[in-house]
């Protein structure tokens, strides 16, 4: 569903992604880990077509939506309008299907997006992405700044969509524990390069990954 080959993306002269190759198959849920500044958001924006590659190819096999880092809502607009705009590409204006999926959003429909709590905003961002009727979803930092229960709630929705509707997910996360729990496979990006990839279970055992992302292995 998502095929990235030898991708190079740069900001001016600074290279943010350096020959990255990765793929996510249809219906798969894959994690992308990496420290601050590794280039994770750069990859997300390139997949969404907002940034253009310098070289290499990006192939997307269906409609892709992005939940961007930091929610990025339209703060002065109502939740309902935020959702409606999420349907810009798909032509879906009526959010009732998303209300069914995330009933809390129906209660918030009339509120201004900018005054909501972080968790509520992330839910709006989630709903807005689902308005695009995506076949693939890129989530840039689901848990950023959220209480564990809120994160767990959103993660459960994500897992359900993946399991029951075959939604392909690329989950960008700082919280490796959450990422390994949700995704069966993961990539690790550092300074614009892939440094590790594999099954979550294997990676969690890898001492380098464990010490960097799981709060320090005992060794």
């Amino acid at each position: 569903m998502i095929d990235v080959t030898d991708l190079v993306v740069s900001y001016g002269t600074a290279t943010a992604l350096d020959h990255v190759t990765l793929s996510v198959r249809q219906g798969e849920m894959v994690a992308l880990l990496g420290p601050n500044g590794a280039g994770k958001s750069t990859l997300a924006n390139t997949l969404a077509g907002i940034l253009a590659p310098v070289s290499g190819t990006v192939r997307i096999g269906g409609r892709l939506a992005l939940i961007p880092e930091g929610r990025q809502l339209f703060p002065d607009m109502s939740v309902a309008d935020n959702l409606a705009l999420g349907g810009w590409r798909s032509g879906q204006r009526d959010p009732s299907a998303v209300y069914e999926l995330l009933p809390r959003l129906a209660e918030l429909a009339g509120r201004r997006a900018g005054v909501l709590s972080g968790g509520e905003q992330q839910m709006v961002a989630f709903g807005r992405a689902m308005m695009a009727r995506p076949e693939a979803l890129v989530v840039d930092e689901l848990s950023l700044g959220l209480a564990p229960t809120v994160t767990a709630d959103l993660a459960a929705h994500l897992a359900e969509l993946n399991r029951e509707h075959g939604l392909t997910v690329l989950l960008i996360e700082q919280n490796a524990r959450l990422a390994f729990e949700l995704c069966h496979r993961a990539y690790v990006l550092e300074s614009g390069r892939l440094v590790a990839e594999g099954e979550s279970a294997e990676l969690a055992e890898d001492p380098r990954v464990a010490s960097a992302y799981l709060g320090g292995a005992i060794t």
Partner: protein
């Protein structure tokens, strides 16, 4: 007393034209972040077109509509020059709009010469509460009121209007949901051209227009738009009406040569007040 009333009504008509210019500035700035100094040019192009088309014997209505559309085309062309290339900053786009305004002088002089031209508007006058008001003035006021209502409905209620607002509210997020912000910016420029064109067509029968009338128009329009902080249409409208009335009063009571100074003085005053207010907020939040 009735002199005062007719100055007031005439002032409101002039204020309406200013408001249309200013609303074009606001629409373009809200969507693209660009201050469009070619806004007066759209009015001049439309006004000159109207005078030519009517001079060629085309009927009223058709001539005016065609002239307003010419304003919209001028807006679109200005937009292409200013933001057509991806990644142009609002500041460099502003400089481009200044350039477009100067270039337009050359084109206008070639096409229409450098003498002021007028166009027949609605003839006659009506008497309201003892004051005689020209029918054209009344037309200007009604058309402006209707336009402001339509703009408010367009931006507040329609999907396309909301998408345009989204571009201003969070351009990155607009691109995340798939809105082509560049195309939306061009659309905003076309709407700005339409509004400027409307102002030009309405004002040409009242005040002959020439290639350099855009300076008066943009100074007044900018003053009103700054009054509304370049984003708020209603306050902009109020500012424009106040300006129109103040200037007409000044002219009526014998200070006619100082109209532009009135506008400039008010604009600078508003800017100083707003700048100091903004820095206070800034200090509070830092």
């Amino acid at each position: 007393m009735s002199a005062f009333l007719s100055y007031l009504l005439n002032g409101l008509a002039v204020g309406c034209a200013i408001a249309l210019i200013a609303s074009g500035l606001v629409v373009i700035h809200r969507v693209t972040g660009v201050v469009n100094f070619a806004q007066g040019t759209f009015a001049v192009v439309a006004g000159l077109c109207a005078s030519s088309l009517l001079g060629m014997g085309l009927p009223h209505g058709l001539s005016e509509v065609a002239a307003v559309l010419a304003g919209a085309v001028a807006g679109l062309l200005t937009g292409l020059a200013a933001i057509g290339r991806r990644g142009t900053s609002p500041l460099s786009a502003l400089i481009v709009t200044l350039g477009v305004g100067v270039l337009a002088y050359a084109v206008e002089i070639v096409l229409w010469g450098d003498q002021p031209r007028s166009a027949p508007g609605l003839a006659g006058s009506v008497t309201i509460a003892g004051a005689r008001i020209q029918t054209q003035h009344l037309l200007v006021i009604c058309v402006t009121a209707a336009t402001f209502v339509l703009i408010a409905l367009f931006f507040g209620r329609t999907y396309l209007g909301k998408a345009l607002t989204a571009c201003a509210s969070n351009p990155y997020a607009a691109r995340v949901v798939g809105i082509d912000t560049r195309r939306m910016g061009l659309l905003a420029f076309a709407i700005g051209g339409l509004l400027g064109g409307l102002a030009g067509v309405l004002i040409t029968p009242l005040r002959p227009i020439s290639f350099d009338t855009d300076v008066t128009l943009i100074v007044n329009g900018f003053a009103a738009a700054v009054f509304g902080a370049l984003t708020r249409p209603v306050i902009t409208l109020i500012g424009a009406l106040l300006l129109g009335v103040a200037e007409t009063m000044a002219a009526g009571y014998g200070y006619g040569s100082h109209q532009l100074e009135v506008a400039l003085g008010l604009m600078i005053l508003v800017m100083i007040v707003q700048a100091s207010r903004r820095s206070t907020i800034h200090e509070e939040t830092v």
